[in-house]
């Protein structure tokens, strides 16, 4: 942690900070994202709302350090992505970030438990944190799956056999294992029907609270706003998007 450097706007409580970020896939002129400032405090629940195609996925890839901004800074837990090597970014991501996709979250050929344990396999920090609470990491995975109300009988099943709702809960368990500092969820409820959506939100938020993880939740569904302390309209912060739509 010798390279930890805090910018003036960063406090030790900041989980994610994006400032003056500009990103385009095909060159500087066709910017997809142009963002002044977005921050997420530790333990905070932030909902980022916007219609599809407004740069949400790009923003999340930047936040998770998969893409690097062409301009501006993106810091995760006080470390700037741009200052790290590719391997360091991969390590920092799995150490601190749990990620939930819209759908197809699981590796179909692994069992449910093995899917949940993936971050522990690739990160010592996640493995140790999972073990510190539950002993063996398999116990931690099982406890999370129980908390997310996935029947024990399914734990050893291949992931491909699960329903969509069950798969999303397994994905949530994988994002939460080893208490990452920040959970990023990219429309995780869009494939779920109304009842399952409410159930999933309740379980996800419970677990984030228990693990004291910050939650960056992206959705186009305004009805979910009541679950969050803070809601940001992406169109309000992304200046590129304002001009287009």
């Amino acid at each position: 942690m010798s390279t930890l450097h805090l910018s003036p706007d960063t406090t030790p409580n900041t989980a994610l900070l994006m400032q003056g970020v500009r990103f385009g896939y095909t060159g500087a002129d066709a910017a997809t994202l142009n963002l002044d400032r977005l921050s997420l405090q530790r333990g905070e629940r932030l909902m980022l709302r916007g219609p599809s195609g407004c740069g949400k996925s790009t923003l999340l890839s930047l936040a998770a350090g998969v893409l690097l901004a062409q301009k501006g800074t993106v810091e995760l837990m006080g470390r700037e992505w741009a200052g790290l090597s590719a391997a360091q970014r991969d390590a920092l991501r799995v150490d601190h970030v749990g990620y939930i996709f819209q759908q197809f979250n699981l590796l179909p050929y692994l069992g449910v438990l093995d899917n949940v344990l993936l971050p522990c396999r690739l990160s010592k920090r996640r493995r140790e944190r999972a073990a510190s609470v539950h002993g063996p990491i398999e116990g931690a995975a099982a406890a999370l799956l129980d908390a997310l109300e996935l029947p024990t009988a399914l734990h050893r099943r291949p992931a491909a056999e699960l329903s969509v709702g069950q798969q999303q809960r397994v994905a949530a368990a994988r994002a939460m294992i080893g208490q990452p500092d920040i959970v990023i969820a990219d429309e995780p409820t869009s494939a779920l029907d109304e009842d399952r959506r409410e159930g999933f939100m309740r379980l996800l938020l419970d677990q984030c609270t228990r693990a004291q993880s910050a939650l960056l939740f992206v959705t186009h569904d305004a009805r979910l706003a009541r679950h969050f302390e803070r809601v940001v309209e992406l169109s309000g912060v992304n200046r590129v998007d304002q001009g287009v739509s």
Partner: protein
């Protein structure tokens, strides 16, 4: 590393149907490579083993390879005979230590009959210069004694005292049976792994007795058949032999003796050096061997192309999988390693399967090859060269995975957590 292997295995197992076809074709090419190599190697071994103590083979003038093949390995066309006087002349040569005249042409139930002198058991050498040994019985003494090769006794279930009817020629016509003069098995030779095992050995006098009534390969029509007892009373000194195996006092004299044989005035003779002639033989079949080896390599290349195609095609459908792996901290290099590991697993399975099939075929088919062609294929651990062949299949499999691996690397870099087109 452990998790990489585990994930690679699970992922490959998930696509086992397509990959198993690749494994099969890799197994086939491994099998071909190993088989060509083993046959090539063992055929050479067999041939060199069969003539290890003989310095020169003397026969009627024809092709050197033909003479060697017929007299030592009993394959190919019979050569003309030479007069026994030539044998006696050879024996008087000061550089010659021993001569083994042999007369071929008769068979017993598909096995060759070798008529020779009792010296055969003393001077003939095979393999690493080993002398012949009897596993039971004694060498031939009487005109109608026969000593059996190990395979003859075993395959025909013969014991000492067995009466044997020889047949003139290669055995197609039963009218050519020498049934009026049966032989008796008096000895069985220990196994040598050479054509000796597949031969019935008799005295030259026995061969002479068989043919007293014969002219030009046929019994004289209408003539009274001579009985065995009558034949024994006749002069059975051999008049012709097929060839003479010659041992010298010093190997250094080999070319001088060869020249003297070529210059023999009684009839046109030739003397061939078995080693040199074998090299000549390998030279002529090297092209066929190379063609076989090339074919195996081509099958290998096609298999590798198949591996590449199957992995490459699947990659498009695996972009989602790569994104998930990226989200849990797998870097592009990890993804590359995943693909290479998959290539390793597939080619390792292919090589292992091919080698197993090869070992099974050697084990099950070896006896048949020996019975049919007289060539002993070793069944045992792979040689260093064969192990290298297996290893190169595996290495080639990994190399063939480099391209899909590189593509996966690029895809996972470009897609990040948002796979497009998946």
């Amino acid at each position: 590393m452990n998790s990489l292997l585990r994930i690679a295995f699970s992922s490959a197992w998930h696509r086992r149907l397509a990959l198993s076809l690749v494994v099969l074709s890799l197994a086939l090419s491994t099998f071909l490579l190993l088989t060509v190599e083993r046959v090539r190697h063992d055929v050479r071994d067999n041939f060199s083993n069969a003539v290890s103590g003989t310095d020169l083979i003397v026969g009627a003038r024809s092709g050197a390879v033909q003479l060697l093949l017929y007299t030592v390995f009993r394959v190919g066309q019979p050569t003309q005979t030479i007069e026994y006087k030539a044998v006696q002349a050879l024996q008087k040569d000061p550089a010659v230590k021993w001569v083994l005249p042999i007369s071929l042409g008769d068979t017993h139930r598909g096995f060759s009959v070798v008529a020779t002198t009792p010296d055969y058991f003393e001077h003939f050498r095979y393999g690493p210069r080993l002398p012949l040994a009897l596993s039971e019985g004694r060498p031939f003494e009487d005109v109608f004694d026969a000593v059996l090769g190990a395979d003859v006794a075993q395959q025909l279930g013969y014991a000492l005292g067995q009466r044997i009817v020889l047949r003139h020629g290669s055995g197609a016509l039963d009218t050519a049976d020498h049934d009026d003069m049966p032989f008796t098995a008096v000895g069985v030779l220990a196994r040598t792994g050479t054509p000796v095992d597949r031969s019935v050995h008799i005295r030259l006098e026995g061969m002479q007795a068989l043919h007293v009534d014969w002219v030009a390969g046929m019994p004289i029509p209408g003539a009274k058949r001579t009985s065995a007892q009558e034949a024994k009373a006749m002069d059975l000194a051999p008049r012709n032999v097929t060839a003479v195996l010659v041992g010298l006092k010093t190997r250094g004299a080999v070319f001088a003796v060869q020249r003297r044989v070529q210059a023999y005035e009684g009839e046109p003779l030739m003397a061939v050096l078995p080693g040199v002639t074998l090299d000549e033989l390998w030279g002529t079949i090297a092209q066929a061997e190379q063609a076989l080896a090339l074919m195996s390599i081509l099958v290998g290349i096609v298999s590798l192309a198949g591996l590449m195609a199957v992995v490459m095609t699947a990659l498009e459908q695996r972009r989602r999988e790569l994104a998930v792996l990226r989200s849990v901290g797998a870097g592009p290099r990890w993804v590359l390693m995943l693909l290479l590991t998959e290539g390793l697993l597939v080619s390792l399975s292919g090589a292992a399967l091919g080698a197993t099939a090869w070992a099974l075929v050697l084990w099950a088919g070896g006896p048949w090859v020996q019975a049919e062609y007289g060539i002993l294929l070793r069944f045992g651990l792979p040689t260093a060269r064969e192990a290298t062949l297996c290893l190169s299949v595996v290495m080639a499999g990994i190399a063939a995975s480099l391209w899909p691996g590189w593509r996966a690397y690029r895809l996972s870099l470009a897609d990040g957590l948002a796979p497009r087109g998946a």
